[in-house]
Amino acid sequence: MTPNVAIVHVNYPHGPNFRLWLPLFLLWVPAIVLAPFILLGLLIACVISGVPFWRSVGAGWALVCSLPGTDVRVATEGNRVLVRIL
């Protein structure tokens, strides 16, 4: 499953707090439109570097599809940052 939403929380002890829900599924629209160009660029890069094209597409797709569930939290000096991909 591809990532649909990214949640970014930024908390400062003495400042504004951000809570962003980034709708990653909306990126599908430009991605589909630009897909021919992206694939063409990838194909050229693969030919130049000698990497199998379809294997690299598969590996990239697997990487994107495995992103949901990723959760990164960092806290220091009262500042907190949370990035979660759903």
Binding site: P52, R55, A62, S66, L67, G69, V72, R73, A75, E77
Partner: protein, 154 residues
């Protein structure tokens, strides 16, 4: 299963079958519990000691004190990475062109990481991840250093 055994014993008690026949019937029922036990060992029975739940995430917890980061107080990093992401990452790493391997190996070794990237092959991928699932690393700082690092699968 108990019902079948009870029926056989009742038939034996009623004199409908002999003791030898009852023994054969009970023996015929025996393989079933064994097979049930074998199958449950992979599911329910495995919960205790046999098979374990397949970990889905790799968790990295870091607690670094001021001496490590220079920041006031404790700095904590909590990263949860899906195991699937590791698989995909290793698959992607396997696509690195051969000419880049040497440079990458040299760069890693110069930073104190004696890792040979060319040794990471797709056919070893599952084995690598499987062994990673058993990984647990606990690092505690000493001599006043409160830094702790925990790496485990969950």
């Amino acid at each position: 299963m108990n019902e079948n055994r009870r029926q056989i014993l009742e038939m034996l008690a009623a004199g409908k079958i002999t003791a030898d026949e009852a023994e054969r019937l009970l023996a015929a029922l025996d393989p079933e519990p064994v097979s049930v036990g074998a199958s449950s060992a992979g599911t329910g029975g495995g919960r205790g000691t046999g098979t374990k739940a397949i970990p889905k995430y790799l968790r990295v917890l870091v607690e670094a004190d001021e001496s490590m980061t220079g920041n006031k107080g404790l700095t904590t990093v909590n990263v949860r990475v899906p195991m699937q992401l590791l698989r995909a990452g290793v698959r992607l790493a396997a696509l690195i062109p051969q000419q880049a391997h040497n440079q990458l190996d040299q760069a890693l070794s110069s930073h104190g990481v004696p890792l040979t990237v060319s040794q990471i092959k797709p056919e070893n991928l599952e084995e690598l991840i499987d062994h990673l699932e058993d990984l647990t690393v606990d690092v505690d700082g000493k001599e006043g250093n409160q830094t702790k690092v925990r790496v485990f699968c969950e």
